[in-house]
Symmetry: C2
Subunit: 345 residues, 2 copies
């Protein structure tokens, strides 16, 4: 064990914290964190909106950095390699989802990158608003050489959260795909669905986002408050990726789907505003949810992004700007992801 110091004053709204970092075990990768994306869920966790937060807390699960050292049994990584860590750092490894590398659906509960209990009594995992982390190699990902590291950080959560449902519902060339909401998740969804060959329609309440959406790869923009436009697009969509992070009425969007098509929710863990069943029955439509993505799929996503040169559009901040960043995110004031430069810690 080594004594380590983490500057968390701004991040966790606490005085500087003495934490004991675990030794690098045989399967561990010790990572120097270069950049960490700021996810909307960090704010929920900091505020304990979901009632699962444990303090002290170091948020951050869009981690990219480079390998400092590896344990004796590590085979996939070596010193200096560019790596990433996402929302979880361990899982049971024995249930069916884990065996299929869909650890996000681990039946025994995955270990979150921040705020989960460790094997040490009273210990907690600490996340990426920090300059170092030690993670089992099974939960570390390789970041392609051609991607800018700071811009790649949001791929580890926003990226995989958009990618996984696009793949699961088999989005392919020629499909008409709607991305609802243009934020961190939505802008990744537009870029990825476009790269998969879909005809991408940005669906937003805001006319002001139309130009941006097209520059990101959207072929069309549909203003959801324009009832004539919504009617014209009714029944046209093969898939809808709904990234709205707050309670809303899903019914107007459901009517956009073709027979047998699905709208997948990725942005909201909350009560929906209202759900009338008519658009489900009349069209055999589905509403589903999807949660981040597993390690195998996340590596596939990173390789896909390397191949198509996809990263997030970001605003790079210093560590001591994090509280302002959280406040601006609550107002939707970011294009499209804050990323912390951990040199500034």
């Amino acid at each position: 064990m080594t004594k380590a110091y983490a500057s968390l004053k701004q991040a966790a709204r606490l005085k500087p914290l003495e934490i004991e970092r675990r030794a690098v075990g045989p399967n561990d990768v010790q990572i120097h964190i270069d950049y960490c994306g700021v996810c909307h869920s960090d704010i929920h966790m900091v505020n304990n909106d979901w009632g699962i937060s444990e303090y002290p807390m170091v948020p951050g699960h869009e981690i990219v950095g480079h390998v400092v050292s590896v344990g004796s049994d590590v085979t996939k990584f070596q010193e200096g390699q560019r790596v990433g860590v996402g929302y979880f750092v361990d899982s049971c490894r024995t249930c069916e989802p884990c065996k299929a590398h869909m650890e996000q659906y681990c039946e025994n509960g995955f270990k979150m990158t921040h705020g989960s209990e460790t094997d040490d009594p009273g210990g907690l995992t600490f996340g990426g608003y920090s300059d170092a982390i030690i993670v089992d190699e099974g939960y570390v990902l390789n970041v392609p050489e051609n991607l800018d590291m700071a811009n790649a950080a949001p791929l580890l959560c926003a990226g995989i959260t958009a990618y996984s449902p696009l793949r699961n519902w088999d989005v392919k060339r020629g499909d008409i795909v709607g991305v609802i909401g243009l934020g961190g998740l939505g802008h990744m969804g537009v870029k990825m669905a476009h790269a998969m060959g879909a005809h991408v329609v940005m669906i937003t309440t805001s006319q002001g986002k139309a130009v941006d959406a097209k520059s990101l790869g959207a072929d069309d923009v549909l203003i959801s408050t324009d009832q004539a436009a919504m009617a014209a697009w009714a029944g046209k969509f093969d898939f809808l990726l709904n990234t709205i992070p707050v309670a809303h009425d899903i019914v107007p969007y459901m009517s956009l789907l073709k027979l047998d098509a699905t709208m997948c929710l990725v942005g909201i863990v909350d009560e929906l505003e209202s759900v009338h069943t008519a658009p489900l029955l009349f069209g055999r439509r589905s509403v589903a949810g999807s949660l981040i993505g597993g390690t195998k799929e996340a590596q596939e996503m990173l390789d896909f992004c390397g191949e198509h040169n996809i990263t997030a559009d970001i605003e790079l901040i210093k560590m001591n700007e994090i509280n302002d960043a959280h406040k601006r995110m609550e107002k939707g004031d970011v294009k499209y992801r804050f990323v912390i430069d951990l040199k500034t810690i």
Copy 2:
């Protein structure tokens, strides 16, 4: 054209009505109606609960009878044959769903068996609370010889409404299938899922329905108000057929589904009580809807029922008992479907 008389005093709460019946066209089948099932939606239509009712109205769309005469171009039916008619009697025949014989999802709107406009100005279709109907042969089905006619009537709506989603979501031998709610739809769902080889669990609020459910083919009964039992079944179901006809909270049921599994709503066209997204995201689960079934699938369903000797459990009533029957249905007081004996008209 022939002048015909339909005794609708009780059925439509109107004085006896003079209706003009259309002539038997070249593709028409003239049917003498022997029995007609009483569907919950008849009550909604009589009361104009959905705001789409047209009066005068003759409800009834679970029609069985025998062929009286056929038009010159009819090839599939002949005089004396046992036939059935369900929820619709025509559709556009040109859209993709129609061409796939999924006329229930006709993009131009199918013609309902009762209450839709006819080609004659001001004309309306009249349904099965009557002793005669004329229907294009494309919308007439063959009723297997071994099935009791009165008990077969509810197959034309309750039966196909349960069968279609069980087939669409590929229920097969060994699957664990939950049927939620034991009414007209639910009891058909139990019998059909059982005949498909599934392990069928009846999910009900009522301990009193346990014995009945098992006699219908359920392997287990899960009382949905028993939280320990619900927890024990969490994550176990391959498919849920939700037949509850009133607003309710779907979240406790969603947690019963396996990863990637679907709950299909067939009983409710209304606002759901509340929908929290957590069980959708944590398990990539779907909630879907399904509407009756198409002509091809309905014939397949009738043949399946012939093969497995499946019909509805019914209470046979006289025409003049229909108002009491509607009242009893509103209290859930029927095992499991009223069927009108049209000899009593």
